[in-house]
């Protein structure tokens, strides 16, 4: 069973029966990915659940600011036909909304909550999706978006620390010269065929 591609082909046939996916990528004999439209997700999840993909392993999102899209991804697994199915769908980035799937997979509740916290995607249908989970008193754009810069955030949020001595190499000209000298010395010592 595990050596054949038949399970992957089975999933592919099942999906094609219902919709016409934009992209199908077969990763290996245990994994297949589909990219579909937003309004087809619930239909496909239901179809897969009825066919035995009863475990929802992962739900998250990927940010594509260039296309102005979020990609929401659902990973499902069937223990009797061992194939991971990735369902991906692209949604609008300026007003990201996708219906919750907790009616189909109740286990998705906290994944959706986390996704809302880190990407700002709303999941209507999930009663708790807007509550804070991990980040306490967050006051910036959701942190896993690509345009969030952690360095700028920490510079703004936390006081600059003052050091009594300057250990940085980049600013001081003298240390640069010293460093170059040391590097040269080391190179010279290695050139003589001496091995440490």
């Amino acid at each position: 069973m595990t050596n054949s591609m038949s399970n992957v082909e089975f999933v592919k046939a099942l999906i094609i029966q219902h919709v016409r996916p934009h992209v199908i990528d077969i990763i290996d004999q245990h994994q297949i990915g589909f990219e579909v439209d937003q309004n087809e997700i619930h239909l496909l999840l239901l179809a897969l659940k009825n066919a035995g993909w009863i475990q929802m392993s992962y739900l998250s999102a990927i940010d594509w600011p260039g296309e102005n899209k979020f990609e929401v991804v659902y990973v499902l697994f069937n223990w009797d036909k061992p194939v991971y199915v990735q369902l991906r769908t692209k949604i609008d980035r300026t007003n990201p909304v996708i219906d919750s799937i907790i009616q189909i997979y109740p286990g998705a509740k906290y994944y959706e909550r986390e996704c809302h916290e880190f990407f700002g995607i709303a999941f209507p249908g999930n009663p708790d999706h807007h509550k804070q989970l991990i980040l306490e008193q967050w006051d910036d754009i959701p942190p896993l978006r690509k345009d969030f810069d952690p360095k700028a955030y920490s510079d703004r949020k936390f006081p600059q620390r003052t050091y009594t001595e300057d250990y940085s190499l980049s600013n001081s000209e003298s240390t640069k010269v010293e460093k170059r000298k040391l590097r040269k010395q080391r190179a010279e010592s290695l050139k003589g065929g001496k091995k440490q």
């Binding site: 595990t2 990763i27 990915g33 009863i54 475990q55 392993s57 992962y58 061992p82 991971y84």
Partner: protein, 368 residues
Amino acid sequence: MRQMKLFLGPQHPGMHGNASVHLFVDGDIIKRSYLLPGMLHRGFEKAMERKLWVNNISLIPRVCVPEPDINEMAYAQGAEKLLKLEIPERAHWIRMIMLELARISAHLMSYGGLGGPTGHYTLMYHAHADRNSILDIFEKISGARVYHQYIVIGGVRQDLPKGIEKDINAFLDDLESRYIEYRDLGIENPSVIARIKDTIMLPEEVVWELGVTGIGMRSAVGKPYDLRKVMPYARYDQVEFEVPTSTYSDARSRVDIKLKELVQSISIIRQCLKKMPEGPVRVKPSRGQSMRWKVPKGYVYSPVESSRGEFGYYMVSDGGINPYRIGVRGASYPQGLLGIEKYMPGTRIDDCALWVDTMGICSPEIDR
């Protein structure tokens, strides 16, 4: 009676790691409960996007503290799938030895952790002493005790040191000889049985509702649903082992399965040491020096069976030198968050610590 709010953790002998369970209790019956994660949130997923593919090896073991090797395996395996890389035969076997040693160490730690909520600290000291011997072996192999950074993209970092087989075999023999003693200390001990038998039930329909994997699922469903058997990675298809199961999932049967898995892991390591071929242990994943390694475009989900269940990395590459997005699926995510919210109410305060222990809830992997 008036409802009262109680905090279980982060400072509590029965609580593992820095998370806190908020309990609203009436007498000692829990009426409402939820987990408060976030005390260990370090922004790993964001940090990984900003580092190189090779840099992340030093970051990811921190995602799960008691069992760091599964992170390395899931990450390396996922990147290899994207690269379509075949790694040397010997590396697969060394990886399996590391993973199984890590499984034994995690099971020992969690079995010892049972000593906290049940008040048998002897168990904890014995288990931690044995875990320490595993850490010694890890130190000899990789140079580090807890965070090994040993399984890398393309194989393992270096070959096993000479004579390590002797150390590993000596340890395994020692552990096996005291297996009965371990059972007597813990799950055969009448006072522990009184605490763990028929408590914290996990029916089969709840497993599917929450999406629980690992020992929790196998103890309820009664089928060998283990990723090592169902879709073998590394060379798990070439070793013989059994997957212990049961159909009645109380705290005791879950601990029992944990101990039975320990025996299976011992047997897997012995087989690995026998079957392991000689040869190289590492290949270069990509052209050029490691700072410029590129991974082709793609999406991949890379799962590994950890001691707590299915542990996976969702990896996206845009063809550059940094990962585009890496998402971590913690094995204890469903039972830790939704499980505590939905299935703790109705039980007693002291049972909550047993749920946390026997379902293997690991707070760093919930927070990331």
